[in-house]
Symmetry: C2
């Protein structure tokens, strides 16, 4: 082997070594880029699922609050005809003492019934002589305005309405003067 | 500059270059390690918050279900004394026609009241002649066993109890034969 050849070989080896190093560096750079990309994506996913979690908790708190606020709505709706019928029964006039006792008892029941509903935020809508309000009243008949009456006044409540907090369970059925 | 010095300088430069490369490689390795660690930690955090999200959604669904299931409990508890008083009023005996009409009306109200409660899963506990069950009955008096009676039988219900689905709102107050 001549000197020139050896040098040539050495140079080739060096070039090969440099090529290998360049390849390794490229691989390393690509690995770092890949890792950085994956890390950013995972961080992004993490932040998004965390935000989702916060939203869900907020929404659930609101739902829980609403569910508690209006929890009595279904039972109240079932009970409104019961209260109506109790009122109707109390319109029956009686005379003898035992019957008056019964009526007095039923009146007390009626009052405690209304109180029990009130304690859960269920209130009577009974707007006699009040201005007609379509949010809470349903006009089922119109009557000619008499002297001294304001227009759009409720002159008679045919069936009482009921509200549950800020919701109307049933509007009052009314006769309006116009 | 002598040849030896120049060679020495070259060697020094090479050593410095090698040192620098070693340092760079070490830094790169450490960077990759750091990135890998951060990626693993972030992935771990992501998985944990995702699991937490799944748990919270499951728990919320259960809470919503329970809230719906027992939604009428508060109003029902308020209404039990009303039903009691209605029953008590109906024990008053009357004779004349108008009073009988009133009583009939109130009986219908009572029945529709009990039906309205039932539609929300509220049931009467009235265990006359049934075996005493401490889960649903409260013994307020014990009576000597009479002939033909089984021990631990409810002989009389002093106050009816009520249940809401699988919950007891109020146990029945009973007299038990022993």
């Amino acid at each position: 082997m001549v000197v020139g050849e050896k040098q040539n070989l050495n140079e080739n080896e060096e070039v090969a070594a440099i090529d290998e190093t360049v390849e390794e560096v490229e691989e390393t750079v690509s690995e770092i880029e890949q890792l950085t990309k994956e890390l950013e994506e995972t961080q992004d996913r993490y932040l998004r699922v965390q935000a989702e979690l916060a939203n869900i908790q907020k929404r659930n708190a609101k739902e829980r609050q609403d569910a508690a606020k209006y929890r009595s709505q279904v039972l109240a709706n079932e009970l409104l005809p019961v209260v109506d019928n109790l009122e109707r029964a109390l319109e029956i006039e009686v005379e003898d003492e035992k019957a008056l006792n019964l009526k007095k008892g039923v009146e007390m029941v009626y009052n405690s019934f209304v109180e029990a509903l009130k304690s859960e935020g269920i209130e009577v809508i009974n707007p006699v002589n009040e201005p007609f309000d379509p949010n809470f009243h349903m006009s089922i008949q119109v009557q000619a305005l008499e002297e001294g009456q304001e227009a759009d006044t409720v002159v008679s409540v045919v069936q009482k309405g009921y509200s549950l907090k800020d919701r109307v369970l049933r509007p009052a059925m009314v006769i309006v003067a116009q």
